[in-house]
């Protein structure tokens, strides 16, 4: 049998079930739910706080996360370690198949629609990321905090988020890339 640790892909059902079991552990042993976007609010405030501490303390949103509470919390450690967990998984995949983790500057679908300019893609990535996190903070969570953790608790807020997120994501993707885009992913 192949070593599962060095396989480049797992069954999405198995990996998803694993995330479900991981949630049991974080609820039971850590009194926490998986979530990623809160850490970005804390980190943005911490970076801004170096330049303009008064402004950050006076902001009612940052104050919730940064006054009387550490900036580098459970969620922040989770996000940093998430990077290394993915790095470990990618590194193990490369041991079996050196081509398993191709370097990607401009994805094929984007290149087909917008051309091969790296900087245009980087700009798209940056703007998309900013819009994404604004939406996450307005909704109160992202695909992890709302999608997985809130979804499995059957929270009303999370299922409203999940449904609007998928609908808007699909509409926007078809608006940008069209039906023809399906031949390029």
């Amino acid at each position: 049998m192949k070593n599962p640790l060095t396989m480049s892909r797992w069954s999405p059902y198995a990996a998803g079930a694993g995330i479900g079991v991981l949630s049991w552990a974080t609820f039971l042993f850590m009194h926490k739910a998986l979530g990623v976007s809160t850490a970005f609010a804390r980190m943005a405030g911490a970076v801004e706080g170096v330049v303009a501490p008064g402004h950050v303390q006076a902001n009612s949103y940052f104050a919730k996360y940064l006054v009387g509470t550490p900036a580098f919390e459970w969620e922040t450690a989770l996000v940093v370690a998430l990077f290394f967990g993915a790095l470990l998984a990618a590194w193990l995949a490369k041991r079996d198949n050196p081509g398993a983790v191709p370097v990607e500057h401009v994805p094929a679908l984007w290149k087909w629609r917008f051309g091969g300019s790296q900087w245009l893609r980087y700009a798209g990535s940056f703007v998309g990321g900013a819009v994404l996190l604004f939406g996450a903070r307005l909704a109160g969570g992202c695909t992890s905090g709302h999608g997985v953790s809130g979804g499995l608790q059957l929270a009303l807020s999370s299922w409203v988020f999940l449904i609007t997120m998928f609908a808007a994501g699909a509409l926007a993707t078809f608006a940008i890339f069209g039906w023809e885009g399906r031949n390029h992913v």
């Binding site: 401009v106 984007w110 997985v148 009303l156």
Partner: protein, 208 residues
């Protein structure tokens, strides 16, 4: 940070790091740290994202509600986010548009940086900016948006007034039936599979 330490205590950070390592590992192995997989989901061609999320939700819900029923988890151990329905819906829609442009969600974007995706680095920087912009908008949003449809920390079964197990059972059956049909449907017919194969050979290999 202000009036306190910058870092939480080491045992909390160690716990977060263990959870994060496993989470990142599972995300990479599931394939959702790739741009093509996320956009393929929105284009209704590759259903990996839904498979991963619904599996996590069904398995997670079974365990969490079993632990609630047996008293292993108390009511205070739940982490329900408040229903501010306008904020949840509007935020979800903005999030979906951002995800279509960036190609990742926050967690998979961080994982993608470790999975060969160089452009994801710029999206992660953009996420920090997005959080800062939201903080500036928050006083207005809090007064005008988050007040609409504010129902508090409610769940779907509590709003309907039924046992959560009915919802979990419905989700599990819907996922099992839906994905069984999908797997059958996803088996390409010979002629289509040949054209797709030909398409692939014309496209440059993704490894360049």
């Amino acid at each position: 940070m202000f009036d306190t330490n910058f870092f939480a205590n080491p045992s909390v950070l160690l716990q977060g790091a263990i959870a994060g390592l496993l989470f990142g590992f599972l995300l990479q192995k599931s394939g959702v740290t790739r741009y093509n997989v996320i956009l393929g989901q929105f284009l209704l061609k590759d259903f990996t994202v839904l498979k991963v999320m619904l599996s996590a939700i069904v398995v997670g819900a079974l365990g969490i509600y079993a632990m609630r029923s047996t008293g292993l988890l108390g009511a205070e151990a739940m982490h329900i986010k408040p229903a501010d329905l306008l904020g949840n819906a509007l935020g979800g829609a903005i999030f979906g548009v951002g995800m279509a442009v960036f190609g990742y969600c926050p967690g998979t974007g961080v994982g993608a940086m470790a999975d060969g995706s160089r452009h994801a680095i710029f999206g992660v920087l953009g996420m920090l900016v997005g959080a800062a912009v939201y903080a500036e908008a928050y006083p207005w949003v809090n007064a005008h948006v988050l007040t609409v449809g504010a129902l508090g920390k409610v769940t779907i079964p509590s709003v309907i007034g039924i046992s959560p197990w009915w919802i979990i059972a419905a989700l599990a059956v819907a996922a099992a039936v839906g994905f069984t049909l999908l797997e059958r449907f996803e088996q390409p017919k010979p002629s289509i599979s040949m054209t797709r194969e030909a398409d692939r050979q014309v496209l440059p290999p993704a490894a360049c």
